[in-house]
């Protein structure tokens, strides 16, 4: 079967699977963003034990492969009685992973806001929370957008790893279809192209918001 004929046969399945990948990525991204912000603020709170604890968390998730993290959450936790579906494990695992990277991006963004801004806001009687919400974070976001965007794109690509714990995603569907149609090369090339179509425009978008060099 030619690639085009193959595409006509399976494109609906592949698109559905791509949607599953996107949903996976969005779920993980949400966890990553929320937890990441929380971690960054904890890190910046000035309390020594929080700095150390968050530091360890970040080191662990950045220093071990995502695949391992998924294995531990899916297989490892099941062995001690906590069972997640492969989808849940993938969202949690990739989300925790992303949160470690995002927290560093958030921290850098917040620290990039000049100290004088905080001082001026404090001087007019704002509380520290008000300073963070109305003055620091709005300015920090500008710095954070590009790196956070890149992490989001990596996350989308990393959903492919979820296929290795049989979570529903594009790569898993590709594996199934390969054993059905016996044309793995064509199928994976199509899948590769689909990922490209998803990620490339996003990377252009991220580059557009990057501060000019």
């Amino acid at each position: 079967m030619s690639a085009l004929e193959l595409w006509n046969e399976i494109h609906l399945e592949l698109l559905a699977a791509a949607l599953a990948s996107i949903k996976l990525a969005l779920g993980a991204l949400t966890i990553g963003l929320v937890l990441g912000l929380f971690l960054a603020l904890a890190r910046l709170s000035g309390k020594g034990w929080l700095w150390r604890a968050t530091g360890i968390y970040i080191e662990i998730f950045r220093g071990t492969p995502a695949l391992m993290q998924l294995f531990i959450i899916y297989f490892g936790l099941a062995a001690i009685g906590i069972t997640f579906s492969s989808l849940q494990a993938a969202i949690i695992g990739l989300g925790l992973n992303a949160s470690a990277y995002l927290s560093e991006v958030f921290r850098a963004g917040i620290q990039a806001v000049p100290k004088g801004q905080t001082e001026a806001a404090l001087a007019i009687g704002m509380t520290r929370t008000q300073v963070m919400v109305w003055i620091v974070l709005p300015q920090a976001v500008r710095v954070m957008l590009a790196p956070a965007g890149n992490i989001a794109i990596s996350l989308l690509k990393d959903t492919s790893v979820a296929s290795l714990i049989a979570a529903p995603d594009l790569m898993l569907r590709a594996q199934d279809l390969s054993s059905q149609y016996f044309q793995p090369l064509e199928i994976y090339l199509i899948v590769g192209a689909m990922y490209f179509v998803l990620c490339f425009p996003l990377s252009l978008l991220v580059r557009a918001v990057e501060p000019d060099r």
Binding site: P114, G116, Q117, E119, A120, A121, L122, A123, I124, G125, M126, T127, R128, Q130, W134, I135, P138, Q139
Partner: protein, 258 residues
């Protein structure tokens, strides 16, 4: 003198960064309505002293009283404990500060910069805040730039917005931290003009400055500091024309020979 209490009382104030002593025992009173200028060479501690008044710097010893109330610490059963961030914020509402680098909020327009304190801190309704802010911008002479953002304003204009922002909180005391030092020379006058106007309206002001002629014309008291200590303090005529300490004299000589 009567029994009017000082608006600002600084007693035995010391500040050290590690082993580096920046303030070495400062005692100073500022009465309501007084204008006090702090002059001295860089590194003398004058900016640190100013920042201790609104507790942007935490003293390592001594205390600062604003209208009889200690700032940064409070009494609890005979001991002094640090103030909560909310209590500190509340005290800072009555102290206005103008910074050398303006520190305007770049993501807000001039009008919004002035309004944000009124809306978020004093919790005034937006329309009321807008009116107050507009009139303050008019007072400092830039009502027409209300919707401009800081990056399109000159240094002098930005600093005047900063003054309006501080005034919006209706402070009893205004602190000026070298408010004109970062300005191009031709813009200095417009800011000094606003400061002068505030002075004639009776605002209590502590001014850290290098503008000696301005300090002389506007102040009731001038304090000369060096190496973390007050070397000499007195009325402007004394400090600038009949200084009693040699250190003061040599400082003024060095300034003059520019």
């Amino acid at each position: 003198m009567g029994d009017v209490q000082p608006l600002v009382r600084i007693a035995g104030l010391t500040k050290a960064f590690g082993s580096h002593v920046v303030l070495d025992g400062i005692d100073l009173d500022v009465m309501p309505g007084q204008k006090l200028s702090l002059i001295g060479p860089s590194g003398s501690g004058k900016t640190t002293l100013l920042r201790c008044v609104n507790h942007l710097e935490q003293p390592t010893g001594g205390h600062v009283l604003i209208d009889g109330q200690p700032i940064g610490v409070k009494q609890r059963g005979g001991k002094f404990v640090p103030m909560s961030s909310t209590e500190l914020a509340r005290m800072r509402m009555s102290i206005g500060m103008v910074f050398q680098r303006f520190n305007l909020f770049p993501h807000l327009s001039a009008l919004q910069n002035v309004m944000i304190g009124l809306v978020k801190v004093r919790r005034q309704p937006r329309e009321e805040a807008r009116e107050v802010a507009m009139s303050l911008l008019g007072k400092v002479g830039i009502a027409e730039k209300a919707d401009a953002f800081p990056d399109s304003l000159s240094g002098g204009q930005q600093q005047r917005v900063a003054i309006a922002r501080a005034l919006a909180m209706r402070p009893k005391l205004m602190l000026f931290d070298e408010a004109t030092s970062a300005l191009d020379p031709e813009l200095v006058g417009e800011v000094l003009g606003v400061m002068r106007q505030l002075a004639t309206e009776g605002m209590t002001m502590i001014i850290v400055t290098h503008e000696m002629r301005f300090a002389e014309s506007v102040s009731d008291q001038v304090v000369f500091m060096a190496d973390g200590k007050i070397v000499e303090k007195g009325p402007p005529h004394q400090i600038f024309h009949e200084p009693r300490m040699e250190r003061t004299r040599s400082f003024l000589r060095a300034i003059d020979s520019r």
